[in-house]
Structure formats: C-alpha cells, structure tokens
C-alpha cells in the first residue's frame, strides 16, 4: 500500500510538472474589463456626423491591475442601446486608429482609420436596438480587431470613431461601452 501511495505521489508530481511546463496552466485567467463611452452621445448626419472617443484603458482599474501580466485579449464586444431618433433604417459602425488621432470628417475617418465593428443595424425612426454580446461579437472586423489587440497589449491608448451608415441619420447611443475579456496572469 505504501508503494502505491508513493506511485500516486510520483505520478501526480510528474503530471503537474508536465502541465506547468506549458508555462500557463495555472497562471492565466480571463478577466472582465470595460471602457465606458460617453453616455449618452448622439451622431447626426447634418451637424455632428461622428463621435470621436480617445480611449485610454489606463483609466480602467481592471486593465491597470493586470497590465503587467497581460497576455492577450480573449474576447471583445461593443455594446449599447442604439435609438434611431430620426431617419431611415441603417447602421452604426466603429472605426479605430492606433494612438490618439483627430480626424474631422467622415471621409477622413474612412480613409485613414480601420473599420473595427459593424454595421450594427437599426430600424427606421423610433427603432431601438439594444446590442447583445452575441450580436456584437460577430460584427468585428479582423483588421480592426488586430489593431485593438495590439493596442490593448501595448500602451492601451487608441481612438475610436462611431459613424452612421445611412445617408441621413440621427442616432442616440445610451450606455455604450467597449467590453474586454483580458487574458491575464494571476
């Protein structure tokens, strides 16, 4: 019986050592963090056709707590309650640039930034779309997501622009946010 116990102990140690050799078995976790967009904000094709948000993740506690042990971005979503105040059915898109930029036209944004997300669709005047995680997750674009991941793993500073896709639009966004699931050490 003593021999069996020794064998059990030996096997357990070998198994744990093999798993620890992967370098991450025990030492990583998926941590929830979110950056709040201005609440509310409005985009209107005639007067303020886009919303520019300079994102600094260093203002997010969960990010700063894990920044030195950050290993990647497990998942991401953009959420919010989109209300079409006035206009035809259309969509909302989010574009991204690394670092802080300040484009002042929609054309400047779509020429120089990279599409990150969208379009999140919304019906005609009066329609409301409360974007869910699942709906949001499938709207990400690979190129924009790559920039986002690099920025999250880098200095945490980037700029997003939210624009409408219909020719004429007036959309209000309530409780908008960027939700991050960080792959972090523990």
């Amino acid at each position: 019986m003593k021999k069996h116990r020794l064998l059990l102990l030996g096997l357990g140690v070998v198994a744990l050592a093999a798993l620890a050799a992967t370098g991450c078995f025990i030492t990583s976790a998926q941590v929830f963090a979110h950056f709040d967009l201005p609440n509310p904000f409005t985009i209107q094709s005639t007067e303020s056709p886009f919303e520019r948000v300079a994102v600094d993740l260093n203002t997010v506690t969960e990010y700063t707590d894990n920044k030195d042990k950050l290993k990647g971005l497990a998942d991401v979503a953009i959420i919010g309650k989109f209300t079409n105040v006035l206009g035809p059915a259309g969509g909302v898109e989010v574009w991204i640039t690394a670092g802080e930029t300040n484009y002042d036209t929609v054309e400047g944004i779509t020429t120089n930034a990279t599409k990150l997300w969208g379009p999140g669709s919304i019906g005609a005047t009066g329609a409301v779309n409360d974007i869910t995680w699942d709906e949001s997750a499938k709207l990400f674009k690979a190129a924009g997501k790559t920039i986002l991941i690099n920025e999250v793993k880098g200095d945490g500073q980037f700029t997003v622009y939210i624009i409408g896709t219909a020719g004429e639009y007036h959309i209000r966004v309530d409780k908008g946010g960027i939700i991050l699931v960080l792959d972090a050490g523990v």
Binding site: K3, L8, L16, A18, C24, A29, N39, D134
Partner: protein, 180 residues
C-alpha cells in the same frame, strides 16, 4: 532523479507481479463542467464516450471524445446585465490511467488532446491537457461504474482556459483477455 528511478522500478516490480485481466471496452459519461477564473464563461454540462484499452497490468490507455456545453455568464455593465454566451468545447484525445485495484479501482490519470472552443465570435482549436483522479466499481465482470474529478486546460500560446469537472459514467468491457 533517484526518486524517479525508484518509482519506475516500483511500477515495473508491481507490473511483473500482477496477473490481471486486460481488455477493450466502451464507456459513456456525463457530468458538470466548471470554468476556473473565466469571467466570461459559466458552468455547464459535459458528456462523452471513452474506449479504455488495457494491454498491460496497471496501465490503461483510453481514447476519448467529449462535448461540453458552456453555461451563460452574466456581468453587470452600468446597471445593465450583459450576458456572455457560454463556450462550447468539443474535445478528443487520449488518457493514460494508472489503475490500481480489482473490483474497486483507484486510478490517477493524465491526458492530451485537441479542444475546439466555440461561441459567437470565437472558433479556435487548442491543445488540451487534463489530469484527474477516478474511482471505479465493477459489480459485474464486464460492467464498471466510474466517478472522476478532473482539471483540464485548453492552451494557446501563453494563455489558457481551464475547467474543473466531475463526471459519472459506466463502461462495458466487450473484449477480455489475460495479461501476464
């Protein structure tokens, strides 16, 4: 190093001194799966099939296939609940069991395989590692019941997702033969 050598010799000595039945079986199992430090994934159910093959005393090799349905996870955002869809995991691989006992068995085990993780916006395959401890009871010659506790990790580069699981299952040994 010396301890490892002693352990290996003990295994060989036990194997040489043991006359037991080998065999090939098939088993079904199911249970619960609990994510470990995953803020975006909830507890779910796991079920699957195993095919234990015992060719030499003490050691059982066991190919397996499993499916885990992750549970939804809710987080609060600005007072609004956000629901993350659970991560479904399809896994296949092989376990190696060190089996002690006769009608009542105790077996530590470890395995390696491929885990496919899937939910909206996530679709990737990872290398899977698992280890655990099982208890088996064989009230009839060809039938055995099993309870297992296991830790598993789906590894990608420097990160991993981890689960603990508790399962119960039944196996039918459809081929039996003596082994030295």
């Amino acid at each position: 190093m010396r301890r490892i050598g002693i352990s290996v010799m003990l295994v060989l000595a036990l194997a040489a001194g043991t006359a037991s039945a080998g065999g090939v079986g098939i088993g079904l199992f199911g249970g619960t799966s609990i994510p470990i430090v995953q803020d975006d994934n909830g507890s779910g159910t796991v079920f699957g099939v195993r095919a234990p093959v015992r060719l030499i005393p003490l050691v059982t090799v066991e190919p397996y296939f499993s499916k885990t349905a992750g549970g939804d996870k809710e987080q609060d955002f600005e007072g609004t609940p956000i629901t993350y869809g659970g991560i479904d995991v399809t896994g296949y691989g092989v376990n190696v069991l060190l089996t002690f006992g006769g009608k009542f068995q105790l077996y530590p085990y470890a395995g390696i395989g491929t885990f496919k993780l899937k939910r909206e916006g996530l679709d990737e395959s990872r290398t899977g590692y698992n280890f655990g401890l099982g208890l088996g009871l064989s009230p009839l010659p060809k039938i055995s019941f099993h309870v297992r506790g296991e830790l598993a990790a789906a590894v990608s580069d420097e990160t991993s997702r981890k689960w603990a699981s508790v399962t119960a299952g039944v196996s039918y040994n459809f081929i039996s033969f003596p082994v030295p």
